[in-house]
Symmetry: C2
Subunit: 398 residues, 2 copies
């Protein structure tokens, strides 16, 4: 029997829970009313069926865990997000982890019992969508499960085509809810390395990560796995959990309160690669000035505000020109970055065993505890990854 703290609904992520077989026709889901701030609620919705996907290609997945992040906050604040056509609500949740419970007759890629993570964006109509790189769409409209025009994963089940469902080995089942955030890093680094083929030879040695949140930590991990000397800049004074995690990778943590970025760059840079993951646009422009010759600055954080800042425009341009520097923005993600993420996460479990699990700081048990989930996401201190434990793995029979 699981040991649940009744007051908080928090459970240890690895303890078993009692099986919870949902009703055949409906299921519970966490949803919002797009356009209406603070509208998150629990509701009964139709349970998806495997035959909803044409061609016998349906894969029905029982959801085990779903992570939440800043995008979910923005969706609940009605700053972003739209309901699918024909619905007035949007099921939220885009960082999924689950297990296949049923497959259509023409599915060869996945089998009942497989652990899986679903991608988020769905193709539009541009040539980039047609070749599977829907993250590079030039369409104006985005389709993203749990975010825009498509229901998400904060529910008991979802169904999709195997094209959008990535198999995860059992060895990653305790951490696979981190795969979707990991793809932010995978895509950013893959784009950077693709771009740097322009150099014919590129052996980056020093990297910086701006921001020590979930994405910053995962970026530091991926860069350490690639053998780089990594400096992570964060706001919080060390030591704290995040700086400990960074040190345990053999990377360096600098608080910008004590060491401004450009001072840190003078000591430990300049940086061949900088991964920006702060959500603060002023850091973007400081990062431009911390880049080594031929270096690449990857922008991955969304800055929805309207901040104007003063920048040394002549100097930034001159250094980009004389140093052949590159800046690239990156938005998530297509299937291949999920597949790369699986490889990096298995590499991480082998190189830094137990490290990824330490990021799972704030589990919240059960969809019915959506208020606590939102509360933890919005107000808890020391969070790295807040997630909903939708169901226990033991509830699935392969």
């Amino acid at each position: 029997m699981p040991s649940t703290d009744g007051a908080t609904g928090l459970v240890s992520p690895s303890r078993p829970a009692s099986p919870n077989r949902s009703a055949p026709m409906t299921m519970k889901a966490i949803a919002v009313i797009p356009g209406k701030p603070d509208s998150m609620h629990l509701r009964e919705v139709p349970r998806p069926r495997v035959d909803e996907i044409p061609g016998g290609r349906g894969v029905l997945v029982k959801v085990l865990r779903v992570g939440v992040d800043g995008t979910d906050k923005e969706i609940n604040a009605a700053e972003y997000g739209a309901a699918p056509e024909g619905f007035d609500y949007l099921i939220t949740g885009h960082e999924s982890f689950g297990r296949v419970v049923e497959v259509g007759p023409n599915v060869t890629e996945l089998a009942v019992g497989d652990y899986v993570v679903a991608t988020v964006r769905r193709p539009g109509s541009s040539i980039y969508d047609q070749i599977g790189t829907y993250d590079m769409t030039t369409d104006d409209m985005y389709y993203e499960r749990g975010i825009n025009l498509r229901h998400g994963y904060l529910a008991e089940y979802y169904v999709d085509d195997p094209e959008y469902i990535v198999k995860v080995p059992p060895g990653l089942k305790e951490v696979a809810v981190l795969l979707e955030p990991t793809t932010v890093v995978e895509k950013g680094l893959a784009q950077a390395y693709e771009i740097q083929r322009r150099l014919r030879v590129w052996r980056p040695r020093k990297a910086a990560v701006m921001g020590a949140g979930t994405i910053g930590l995962l970026a530091a991990l991926a860069l350490r796995l690639r053998g780089l000397d990594v400096t992570v800049f964060g706001r919080t004074a060390a030591p704290y959990l995040n700086s400990d995690l960074i040190h345990d990778l053999g990377a360096r943590y600098l608080s910008t309160v004590a060491t401004p970025i450009l001072d840190g760059a003078r000591q430990h840079g300049p940086f061949d690669l900088i991964f920006e993951a702060t959500g603060a646009s002023s850091v973007v422009f400081e990062s431009m000035q911390a880049l080594a010759k031929n270096g690449v600055l990857v922008l991955s954080s969304v800055t929805g505000g309207d901040h104007m800042i003063q920048v040394p425009a002549d100097r930034i341009n001159l250094e980009f020109v004389l140093g052949n520097k590159v800046m690239v923005g990156t938005v998530n993600a297509n299937r291949e970055y999920f597949e790369m993420g699986v490889k990096d996460m298995t590499h991480a479990e082998s190189q830094y065993p137990g490290w990824l699990e330490r990021l799972l700081t704030h589990p919240v048990r059960g969809l019915e505890n959506w208020k606590l989930l939102l509360e933890t996401l919005t107000h808890a201190r020391g969070t790295i990854k807040v997630y909903c434990e939708v169901a226990e793995d033991s509830s699935v029979t392969a």
Copy 2:
């Protein structure tokens, strides 16, 4: 006999001059004293010999024409430039065109009589230098003929290794002095296309060029040769020679006085590729906002000042991230971009015959007219390319 205007020293670039065989041991050259503002002067210097280059690999070139640009102004203002070791002067001039008059016994690539243009930068020690991409050097020190630590081409002769001398077909002899500036465009576009291999499919349709000076015009040409719809933004109100040249390419000219960049982008963009060649860093930051999804902004202009400007930082970052956009700086150039330039210039002569020659607006006859050369470069109006006609082609006997 040439028809020279004695008062101005200006000659038509295509008229023959009397042969001028220089003395065997010395020659005339235009030089500056680095560190001393306004020190440009004519001097007698040792005439280079083919055996100065080791291994029997010397190529002695008689200089026919040398273009001048903003860098030459900066060098004369002592804002930039250093003398070679052992010298207190620097022979200036980096946009060369000449003809081979003597080769060492182990030169197979070039023969006496060949028309040639020399590259500018020389290798340092980094891995990029070692593989021939010395324009991507990560060294702190740059070696550039006519600019920094190496003598330039504003002289009667120069000698070099064939590695740094690019053959030009006789069909380009009237315009080949434009090859060095063309390499700015060639490298910028080559880097952009290399970078865009990250997209697997890239079919850019709309391009913008910021600036309608020599580089801007050559960028518009190269982009039209690649089939793009091109909009050039300049400050001057049309019509004038530069806007006429742009129209004659089938491109569009917009004066930013009448049409600010972002308005122009709304009408004719967004732009898959933007080539920035204004020398004004504020334009760089405006250009960032005129870029299409997956677009690439090429920065090629040097901004030596200290301007600070106010920018919409959140918006620029957000658009780069959500649109997967790229910005790349580019500094010139290695041999391959000269070879690409030859191809584009021959293509241009076939597609737009006579167009390149119209850029040669301000010839100045003879090294001894260096004052007029500098005066024309600094003060003349309506200049596109100012250059010194060092010697007539007919003075060379193959």
